[in-house]
Each structure stands twice: as structure tokens, then as C-alpha cells.
Symmetry: C2
Subunit: 352 residues, 2 copies
């Protein structure tokens, strides 16, 4: 993570206002902003010449730059960072939008899959960017119940239920066919033995009555560990085509590189995991220009947040767009949706 290196005391009140204005205008228009345009369109009581002087300072300080000698100014990454940090606290999603979104969630079928898809869809449409939502992944897990169901021949379906309500199912192929009664016996014995235990505790236990018990015990421990270790849950995306509509990506090559990241789920998971691993739930992170780490995102920004219940189950979600993205819309949306999902996860964990 890079530390923002601007010093707010450097900027006069007027410079701040101008900088914000310039960036806002550029985000709207995608055109370099000139002093004249600025003086005319917004009623600042300043002549274009004065604005020019201030712009020159801002350029020198690294917040703006000129694409070429005689064009208007365009924000630098540093400029965007300033813009975002200024706006971060103020921006709130309009109440009507908040209600619409909440409504959609509480009207959807109460399944994780539905929620993830919905969250991705809402983020994408609100922000006009590409959204990504990683399903929550459990951080600790305690055994509640196991069922063993013979399906066909040597195949057995093992269903594992955790105290938090998570379910894992897996098909085992045994060395030889085992009748359902014996499987049920094993399940009953293990249910008694393992109630409430953690994966770690289980892996040290031994079960005696039946050699099958020990085998299953091992598999359970293994499965529970796997549930925790899985770096993060499945990934949902939406709005992939939005990014193609942006003028800066009309030369398809840049767009392709950015979208490629979204096809390689592994990289994406890594990115989400790394950038949110040490941040609190509820805190937003804004990555501007790939922050020097992700070359394919050099032209992009991401707004990312972690959601869920720390210590129990958390996931991450975010929006990718051009650096010139509508932060004032995206940031509050991401924050709001993250909050909503946190509530849903929390409700789900504590039971009804």
C-alpha cells in the first residue's frame, strides 16, 4: 500500500476548490479542462488568467498535468487521490436509492447465490463500472452435524453442517460398498463425539468403534480445514461490458488487459484478498492506477470494501472503472452495499 504523499497544508482554500472543480469537470466530460471553460461555466469570481496561475501551481505540485503544451489540464493519480480523500467522508447515497437497493435485497430469495448476483448487478449498474463480489468465507467453523448417505454402489454423500449454518457436501468413494445402516451408525457416533468441536480439535481425535469411523473422521477434519483455508469464496462479476463504453478504452487493447484480470479469477481473488486483508470491515479502499502493483490496471481505479462479520465470515466486493470513474457515485454505493451484505451475513450467522 502506498502512502498518500500530498500535504494538505500546501493547498490554499481556493486551490482546493479549483482542484475539486477541475477533477469533477474532467470526470463528467472526459475532456482536458481549460482555464477559460472553468471561468465561464462555474461562477467563480476569478478571471481565466488567475485560474491559469493557480493551475500552474497545481501542476507543479503534481495534482494536474497537461496532455500537451496547449491543452487543458487533466488530473494526475495524485490529483485523484486528493479528490477521493476529500470526498470520502461527505458522500452519501440518496435515501431513495438506499431504499430501492435494500428493497431488492429483502425481496430476493434468501440465498447466498442470489445475494451475490444481486450485489454484483447493483454495483455495476449504479457505478457504470465492472463489479466484483467475493462470497463470504468462513474464518472459524465449529462442527454441528454430519450425515452419510449412500448414493450408488461405493459412492457416499457426506453432508457436513457447521454451527454457523454453513453446509458442505462431498461425494466419497469408499473402498467397498457399505450399507446405509452402518453409515448411519457411524454418523450418529461421530455426531456425539464431535459436537461443537473445531477443525483443529477434530484432527487430533481418534475414534475406535469401527474402522470406518476413523476414516470419516479424517475426512471431516480435512473438509473443515478446507473450508477455512479456501482463500475466499466464489467470485461474481457483472457489468463487464460497461468498461468498453468508456472513451479511454475505445482502443480495445487497454480494455482487454483490464478485462483479462476479471477472467483470471485467481488473480482477482488474490487482489481482493491482499488489499482487504488488513483493512477493517466497513472501511473503503480506493486503488488508483493499480497503485504501481498491477500493471494491467494502470489506467484503472478500483473501489474495494470488505464486508461480513470479522472473525466469523467475511468477503470482499468492489468496482473497477477507468481512473476517471464517477467516484461520487461509486464510493457511497460500494459502502452501502457492503453494509447491507454485512447485515445479511450477520443475520445469517446468528440464526433467525
Amino acid at each position: 500500500m502506498r502512502v498518500l504523499n500530498y500535504d494538505m497544508t500546501n493547498l490554499s482554500e481556493r486551490q482546493k476548490t479549483l482542484l475539486m472543480l477541475i477533477i469533477r469537470d474532467y470526470i463528467d466530460s472526459a475532456q482536458p479542462v481549460g482555464s477559460k471553460r472553468l471561468a465561464e461555466h462555474y461562477h467563480i469570481n476569478l478571471s481565466s488568467a488567475t485560474i491559469r496561475n493557480e493551475m500552474a501551481s497545481l501542476t507543479e505540485m503534481g495534482y494536474l498535468r497537461q496532455p500537451h503544451t496547449s491543452a487543458g489540464r487533466v488530473p494526475t493519480e495524485e490529483g485523484y487521490r486528493y479528490f477521493v480523500s476529500e470526498m470520502m467522508n461527505s458522500a452519501e447515497l440518496p435515501e431513495t436509492v438506499q431504499h430501492t437497493i435494500s428493497h431488492q435485497f429483502y425481496q430476493s430469495r434468501p440465498e447466498l447465490d442470489q445475494w451475490m448476483t444481486l450485489a454484483a448487478s447493483i454495483l455495476a449498474s449504479q457505478s457504470q463500472g465492472v463489479s466484483v463480489v467475493a462470497a463470504p468465507h468462513v474464518e472459524t467453523t465449529n462442527f454441528k452435524h454430519v450425515e452419510l448417505i449412500s448414493t450408488q454402489g461405493r459412492q457416499v454423500l457426506m453432508v457436513l453442517v457447521m454451527l454457523g449454518g454453513e453446509v458442505s457436501q462431498q461425494i466419497l468413494t469408499l473402498a467397498e460398498p457399505v450399507p446405509q445402516e452402518r453409515l448411519s451408525g457411524t454418523a450418529t457416533r461421530l455426531n456425539g463425539l464431535l459436537a461443537g468441536q473445531t477443525a483443529q480439535a477434530i484432527s487430533t481425535l481418534t475414534a475406535r468403534p469401527d474402522p470406518l469411523d476413523q476414516d470419516i473422521l479424517l475426512l471431516i477434519a480435512q473438509d473443515m480445514r478446507r473450508m477455512i483455508e479456501k482463500a475466499s469464496g466464489e467470485i461474481y462479476t457483472d457489468g463487464l461490458t460497461n468498461v468498453l463504453a468508456e472513451p479511454e478504452f475505445s482502443e480495445s487493447d487497454e480494455a482487454r488487459r483490464a478485462l483479462k484480470i476479471f477472467e483470471e479469477r485467481a488473480t482477482l481473488q488474490d487482489l481482493l484478498a491482499r488489499t482487504t486483508s488488513n483493512s477493517d470491515v466497513g472501511a473503503l479502499q480506493v486503488l488508483i492506477g493499480g497503485e504501481g502493483e498491477y500493471d494491467d490496471l494502470r489506467q484503472c481505479s478500483m473501489v474495494i470494501a470488505r464486508y461480513g462479520v470479522p472473525g466469523m465470515a467475511t468477503g470482499a466486493l468492489g468496482v473497477l472503472g477507468p481512473m476517471r470513474m464517477a467516484y461520487s457515485r461509486t464510493i457511497p454505493t460500494v459502502r452501502f452495499v457492503a453494509g447491507l451484505l454485512s447485515d445479511l451475513v450477520s443475520d445469517n450467522i446468528s440464526g433467525e
Copy 2:
């Protein structure tokens, strides 16, 4: 479905050869093919003038067209249809490639999810197009086993196992908490009552011993019907960015429209379902230029096949690319992967 309206007897042997050559060249180069180029690069014993005459005929017959008066020829949709129908039977995937692909499948974890992802990935990389794989969906389903597991308070996990080995799980919220013993009793009774039944049969049954039994019975029937009705399984795609690399899509708008279809899963499912519903497993379909039905695919072609075991479980898969796609590579790949998945599905249904 549109009927191909060319009449093969119209074409002399020489015209056939030329047409195939022109289309192949255009697919490779993405450049209109001229008579001179043709005469020089391929050693046909014909002068460019003769070729010009033949090209004029082919143009009149509707297989070729000129982008403008003085450019080479480009295939029409009709031309591509002819090309595809000629090639359809001949093309075979090289054995080494076949082995590599099979190998990947038999090495992967034996889970549907893995297979689908792998199939999508292979199709995309082999064809350099956008791949789509719809998971197989069961066409008939017979009850095997149900488990009811109390998770938290009024929430109950219902796990349904079918004779084919499919599993469905669902969380129910009961009106009031029910102890695990009573749930187990219900499950045991229903298991006896329903063994081997179809959804239809189950929905007409009535269970007496316990009011809970009847409730669960209804849910089971409902769930089994849902499994069948679901038009098709989940959809996997890969290679979305491939299409952006094609020269005809460098103007991002066309590409966006095509990719949008892949974001709207519903449309895509519909498309797959409709085009493959009346075709046999193993038969390929090639949709060229959207076949007049899908406006967003006007510039695209799709190679689609159905796979699975008819009457039991079938799915669909395919590749989307520009009309100028590498059919000679795509067609055999789609055919081969469809065959492979059919085998896997078939193995899976009959048990080990």
C-alpha cells in the same frame, strides 16, 4: 432455423475450389481477397483474369461480395454456410490434441464444476473465441433419499438425493422449532414411501402419520419439479476477451453488443435451449450471422452442440466468434469436447 438455399449443382468443381480457397484466405488474413493475390499465392494454373470471371459468377450467386467497387471479395453469410457445410464432415481434431484434452479431463477433480470450467477453458483457448458451457440438466429424476437436519432454531436443511446421483439442498424455515428426532422420523417414513418415485407421482401422494410429513412431502415434490423445470443448468463462459482481439471488433461497439449477450445469462440460456432443443446429441449446429434472429450477433457466428445422455441429462456448449472464425479448428473442437462431456455424464449417471 433457416434453410440453406444454395444449390451445390450450381457450382463447378473449379468454382468450389476457388470459393473454399477464398474463404480460407479471408479467415486467415481478414483482408478482402483479390484475384491476383489468389493466383500468385496458391498454385492454381489459372490466370488472375480467369479467376476474376469465376469470382464474378460467385458474387452473382451470392457467395461473395465486394466491400467496395475496387476491393477484393469477402464471403457473404451464404458463402460461410457453404464453407461450413463442406468442411463439417471432413474436419477432425489432431490425435495429439485429442489426447491432451482428454488427459486434462481425466486428471481434473471429478466434479461437475471442474469439468464445466475446464471445458469452457479448452474451448476458448482452442478456438480463440468466447466459449459457453451450460451444465447438464436432468430430464427425469427419481427420488432416492431425503435427509432433514436441524441447523438452527426453526431452520432445517433438507438434502435430497436422486437415483441419478444428483443432490439438491435447501434450507427450510419451519413455523416452529422441531427436534431432530422428529425430523429423522419424518425422513425415515418418507424414504420408505417415496423410494424410486418420480416428481409427478410424488405430488399426488398423501402422507398421514404426522402433519409435518405432508409439509415436507410437498416441498420434496416441488423441489424435484424445480430440478426438472430449470431450463438448463448453470452457465460457464471463458475467453470473453478473445473477441476483443479480433480486428472486426476493434470498434468497440459491435464487440460490446456481442459480449452483452454473454452477460445476460437468461438470453444466452434461451439461445442455447432453443437452438439445441430439437437437435440430436452429437450433431453440431452452426449459426452464422445470428441467422436473422439475434440482432446483436449479426457479425458473429456460433458453433453449438448438445451433449449428455438424451432422456437423462443433457447440456449444451458452444463457441462464439466473429463470422470470420476459424471454423476448421472450432468445429472439431466443439464436437470433440461435446463427445467427451457426453461420456463423462454417461459414466456419472450409471454409477461407478
